[in-house]
């Protein structure tokens, strides 16, 4: 019976209900999208690293966490040294330059070695580098920048020719010859990281131990370990950023629900008086407001999840390099956060309604 009343209350003011639901929906969308975007980009980066086909990665001691900035501090000589180790099948080094505007990287590769390690890039158009100022880009980047084979793209004020367009998923979206990058950025003889492939992947831990003894202080990871570092908590500032966005989203939901429930209980002053004259306790009145809010929040969560797919579609259509990865578990977390915010918003109106003096409420016109 109380549920009937709650439902009727919501239906009685469809526009107010709709606005509250949409506000909670936007809150949910915001949370899901910002988390989805962060996770999507990290998962994508992690996936591309796995696409290299290496078993071990060696990085300089100074490079922190997973997403190293542009730098090259390893000696090129290490590549041969690694390659000559008995259990190693092959080794190859890369340099990386971060295009901060696009949250993506340009990678300098020794294309022959890299192809052998990764099983080769799959060309959708064109082919590998033919000259120093050639670039190979992946399909996503080609789409993002509307580039075709033979066209030129500018990097560090130099024109690069697009030599080939490849399937995405291996290491980077933009490849240029390693030596060109080393020359242009003054990194001659230096590498950012070295990938190692073993004859038998099961020997990874043993080889890592050997490498660590050989190169104390270096960051040496198995690829599994390395890609697991691509997580929100490992990127400086990212989790703070996400928390701030979630905080703002919850504030929107909180304020709208509070305003909505506040006007609702003012408008229903007389009805609250009637319920009290029938013996409704404070608890009962609070229960009505809470149930109503809970229903609003649930509807909002549903709407928000739908919206988040819309947002994902729009973002990935407009910016192909961005990946929004919507995880179901975040439906639950975002829902919990939204319900919590809504309940907090309902608290004051609910208590106020419960404290209404029944006689004054019944006299209310």
């Amino acid at each position: 019976m109380v549920n009937r009343l709650v439902l009727q209350n919501l239906l009685h003011r469809p526009i107010r209900t709709l606005l509250s639901v949409v506000a909670v929906g936007v809150e949910i969308t915001l949370i899901l999208t910002v988390v989805g975007l962060s996770q999507g980009l990290l998962e994508e980066a992690s996936r591309r690293n796995r696409g290299v086909g290496a078993d071990i990665i060696v990085r300089p001691s100074t490079t922190q966490a997973a997403m190293g900035l542009s730098s090259a501090e390893l000696s090129e000589k290490l590549v041969e040294k690694f390659a000559s180790m008995p259990r190693v099948s092959m080794a190859t080094g890369t340099t990386v330059y971060m295009l901060t505007n696009y949250l993506t990287t340009i990678t300098g590769v020794d294309m022959d070695a890299f192809s052998r390690m990764s099983g080769g890039l799959k060309y959708l158009a064109g082919g590998p580098f033919e000259q120093p100022f050639d670039a190979v880009i992946d399909q996503v980047w080609a789409e993002q920048r509307k580039l075709q084979v033979g066209q030129s793209m500018e990097l560090w004020n130099r024109q690069f020719r697009v030599a080939g367009i490849v399937e995405p998923g291996k290491l980077s979206r933009i490849f240029i010859p390693l030596t060109t990058m080393q020359d242009l950025l003054g990194w001659r003889g230096k590498l950012g990281q070295i990938y190692i492939k073993l004859k038998n992947p099961d020997e990874t831990p043993a080889v890592i131990d050997e490498l660590k003894a050989l190169l104390p202080g270096y960051n040496i990871f198995s690829m599994a370990e390395f890609t697991s570092l691509f997580s929100i908590n490992n990127i400086a500032g990212l989790s703070t950023f996400i928390r701030v966005i979630i905080g703002l989203a919850v504030t929107i939901g909180f304020l709208v629900v509070m305003l909505s429930m506040y006007t609702a209980i003012l408008e229903r002053t007389r009805e609250i008086g009637i319920l009290k004259s029938l013996g409704a306790s404070q608890f009962y009145i609070i229960g009505i407001v809470i149930r109503e809010t809970f229903l609003l929040a649930l509807l909002g969560i549903g709407v928000g999840i739908l919206f988040s797919f819309g947002a994902q579609g729009i973002i990935q259509h407009r910016f192909p390099i961005l990946v929004v990865s919507l995880h179901r578990d975040w439906w639950f977390y975002a829902g919990l956060i939204a319900v919590g915010g809504a309940m907090l918003g309902a608290l004051y109106p609910a208590v106020r309604a419960a404290r209404q003096d029944p006689i004054a409420a019944l006299a209310y016109e």
């Binding site: 019976m1 109380v2 009937r4 009343l5 009727q8 209350n9 239906l11 009685h12 007389r270 009805e271 008086g273 009637i274 319920l275 009290k276 004259s277 029938l278 013996g279 409704a280 306790s281 404070q282 009962y284 003096d357 029944p358 006689i359 019944l362």
Partner: protein, 224 residues
Amino acid sequence: MMPFIIDIADLHKTYHLGRVRVPALRGVSLTVEPGEFLAIVGPSGSGKSTLFHIIGGLTPPTSGHVRIDGLDLAEMSDAGRTRMRQRTVGFVFQKFNLLPTLTAAENIGIARDIAGNNDFDRLQFDNIISLLGIGDRLHHKPFALSGGEQQRVAIARALANHPKILLADEPTGNLDTANSQAVLDVLKDLNGRLGQTTLMITHNPDAADFCAHRIVHMKDGKIV
């Protein structure tokens, strides 16, 4: 001798509006026997509604002795008064006071829900409904009902939890003559059949004469 169901002595109620004290009741003494139909008449502002609000547990007395069905209201907590409103008294108001978003049946049902009343007597309920003549109006919302029908639904709601006391504050105040008479008939009839003590405030001496076993007059916050 049966104990009084309502036993009031020297009841005072003073409202405070800011710094102004409004004495609404100034020493009311009244006893009512179980099953009695009492009419209360008196000029506007004489404290009739205030007396009902205290008997019905909507507001505590300021001073004096008030026993309702054996319970002392002066010592009663908010929660105690809430329980009393659930089971011991039923209100009927001049303005009907149905919940506008619920149907007639739901309005009656919510009273039962609030009281947590699960063991209700379907037969007796159907009886009351047919007596009130609202059987075919139960699934309408208040706006679709006439004033007389709304008031009869309100009476059914007030009786939903079989209260020992029915408090009707000018129940015919907003009704035309025909509807007023129908409501009075029902109140009188239900008092006879179910035996609940009924107190009715009215401005109409004929209505009081028609229904009541006894008529009391109020003036300036006292019974005269």
